[in-house]
């Protein structure tokens, strides 16, 4: 039995057609709207899961232990120095491990002969201990490389079930243009997207935000006034029965949680 996840290659033209197939035939959305929605979905998917990543070489400096990374460090970044792995720690941990890390240079008294630890300073900068004593190449394995689709032939590789989740999210994000009623109807697309991201990145599951979403549903639209598509005056619009029922169920769920799950 193979545990390899099947991957499909989807071109931009195919993605556009798939999104169009999930929308009504009257063209409310332009091709540019759909292109932006697809690329925004890819950006968020990449941001939350580090799905597309690359290896880059960055140069060290003898004057500073800080190294600028072109792009953002992805989930589970690995850094190697002359094929030797470095141990990743938080910046506060680095300060405890080596209080004088700012001045420490490899090979000097009391310091190792090569960098042993690295710590992220934000997502585009990292600190080395000990710092390099000259210009060397540091291998950073795990920098996001988010695809951006412009032409019909531009393509991404992605698992089919994740493609389905991505398309659901694209349709949901397009719903912001017509208004709140369609947003509500497509909300499962957003919830599925976040759950899929949390499956790939377990740290999302540990956030209070995610716990709230799992227990109480997405923190919207309990108090929102739901506008009909195209309406800009939501306070005067009506809600349809299904949304009333869904809203009432959501409010009841929140009330139960507030009462301690009784």
């Amino acid at each position: 039995m193979s545990y390899t996840q099947p991957v499909v290659t989807a071109t931009f033209a195919e993605l556009q057609a798939l999104v169009r197939g999930r929308l009504e035939s009257v063209p409310y959305w332009t091709d540019t709207d759909i292109q932006q929605a697809i690329n925004d979905a890819l950006r968020l998917w990449s941001w939350l899961t580090s799905y597309w990543r690359k290896r880059v070489n960055v140069a060290t400096s003898s004057s500073t232990p800080l190294v600028v990374v072109p792009g953002t460090l992805a989930q589970s970044t690995a850094i190697t120095w002359a094929r030797e792995p470095l141990v990743g720690v938080a910046l506060a941990e680095l300060a405890l491990l080596a209080p004088d890390w700012w001045y420490a240079r490899m090979g000097t008294a009391r310091h190792p002969s090569r960098p042993l630890f690295w710590a992220p300073v934000g997502l585009s900068l990292l600190a080395l201990y000990p710092g390099a004593d000259a210009v060397y190449q540091l291998e950073v394995d795990g920098v996001r490389e988010t695809p951006v689709l412009f032409n019909g032939g531009d393509a991404i590789d992605i698992g089919p079930e994740e493609l389905d989740t991505l398309l659901g999210y694209v349709v949901h994000s397009l719903a912001l243009k017509p208004g709140s009623a369609l947003l509500t109807r497509t909300l499962p697309g957003l919830e599925a997207f976040v759950r899929a991201a949390a499956t790939r990145n377990p740290l999302i599951r540990q956030t209070r935000w995610y716990s709230t979403v799992v227990k109480e549903g997405y923190p919207w639209p309990q108090t929102a006034n739901l506008a009909e598509p195209g309406s800009s005056g939501p306070n005067t619009s009506r809600q349809d029965g299904a949304e009333d029922a869904a809203g009432a169920a959501r409010v009841a769920r929140v009330a139960r949680v507030a009462e301690g799950g009784r």
Partner: protein
Amino acid sequence: MIPPITDRRLLDAVQRVVLEPADFGAAWPSGLWTTAEVLAYLSQRQDRFLKETLAVCAHLQTALLVPGDGTADIPAPWLATLSVMWDSGTAGRPLLPLTRREADLLQPDWQQTPGSPLGYIPEEYATRQVTLVPAPDLPGFLHVFAAVVGQTFTGLDTGVAITVPDECAPYLGYGVLADMFGKQGRGYDEGRRAYCEARWDEGVALTQALLKAVVIS
């Protein structure tokens, strides 16, 4: 080469959502919003994102502190502190963030007796100022690793690249839209304002978690 996301491209995307003619934010014919107003929303949201997530940090250095000087001004672009380190010129030492009460418990005579700083009290007297505990007995300065103010947006033809990573641009867009839909007037839309604000909160909360994900498998 993928072009970076600029203020103009973000404004263009926002215009498409609010049914304004998409012209990269040059004109807002509905009269509900102006270019300057939306650019201000964008700047504020960008700085809020940088401050709340610490996703993009820089290294700042204070001016030289003389012995006995117990307060240090942090350079102007500072937004929020990740870490502070005392530097005597030859050796560094990480400083603990403290409250006044913790400082008093840690070293009761810290205000009378200069020494090698152990910690700092953030924003005790002024926003961009820290109080050293105790004041240094040797000259030195502070290294501050912090989120800093993002690029100033102009909306001009060339466009200004956003300071937050491109992958976060959709969250920035939701923040701008939340401000736009929340403006009192004909454009007010509570449903979409609440939705966009919820998406913004999602972006901040999940980005805060990502920093931990970098070093944990």
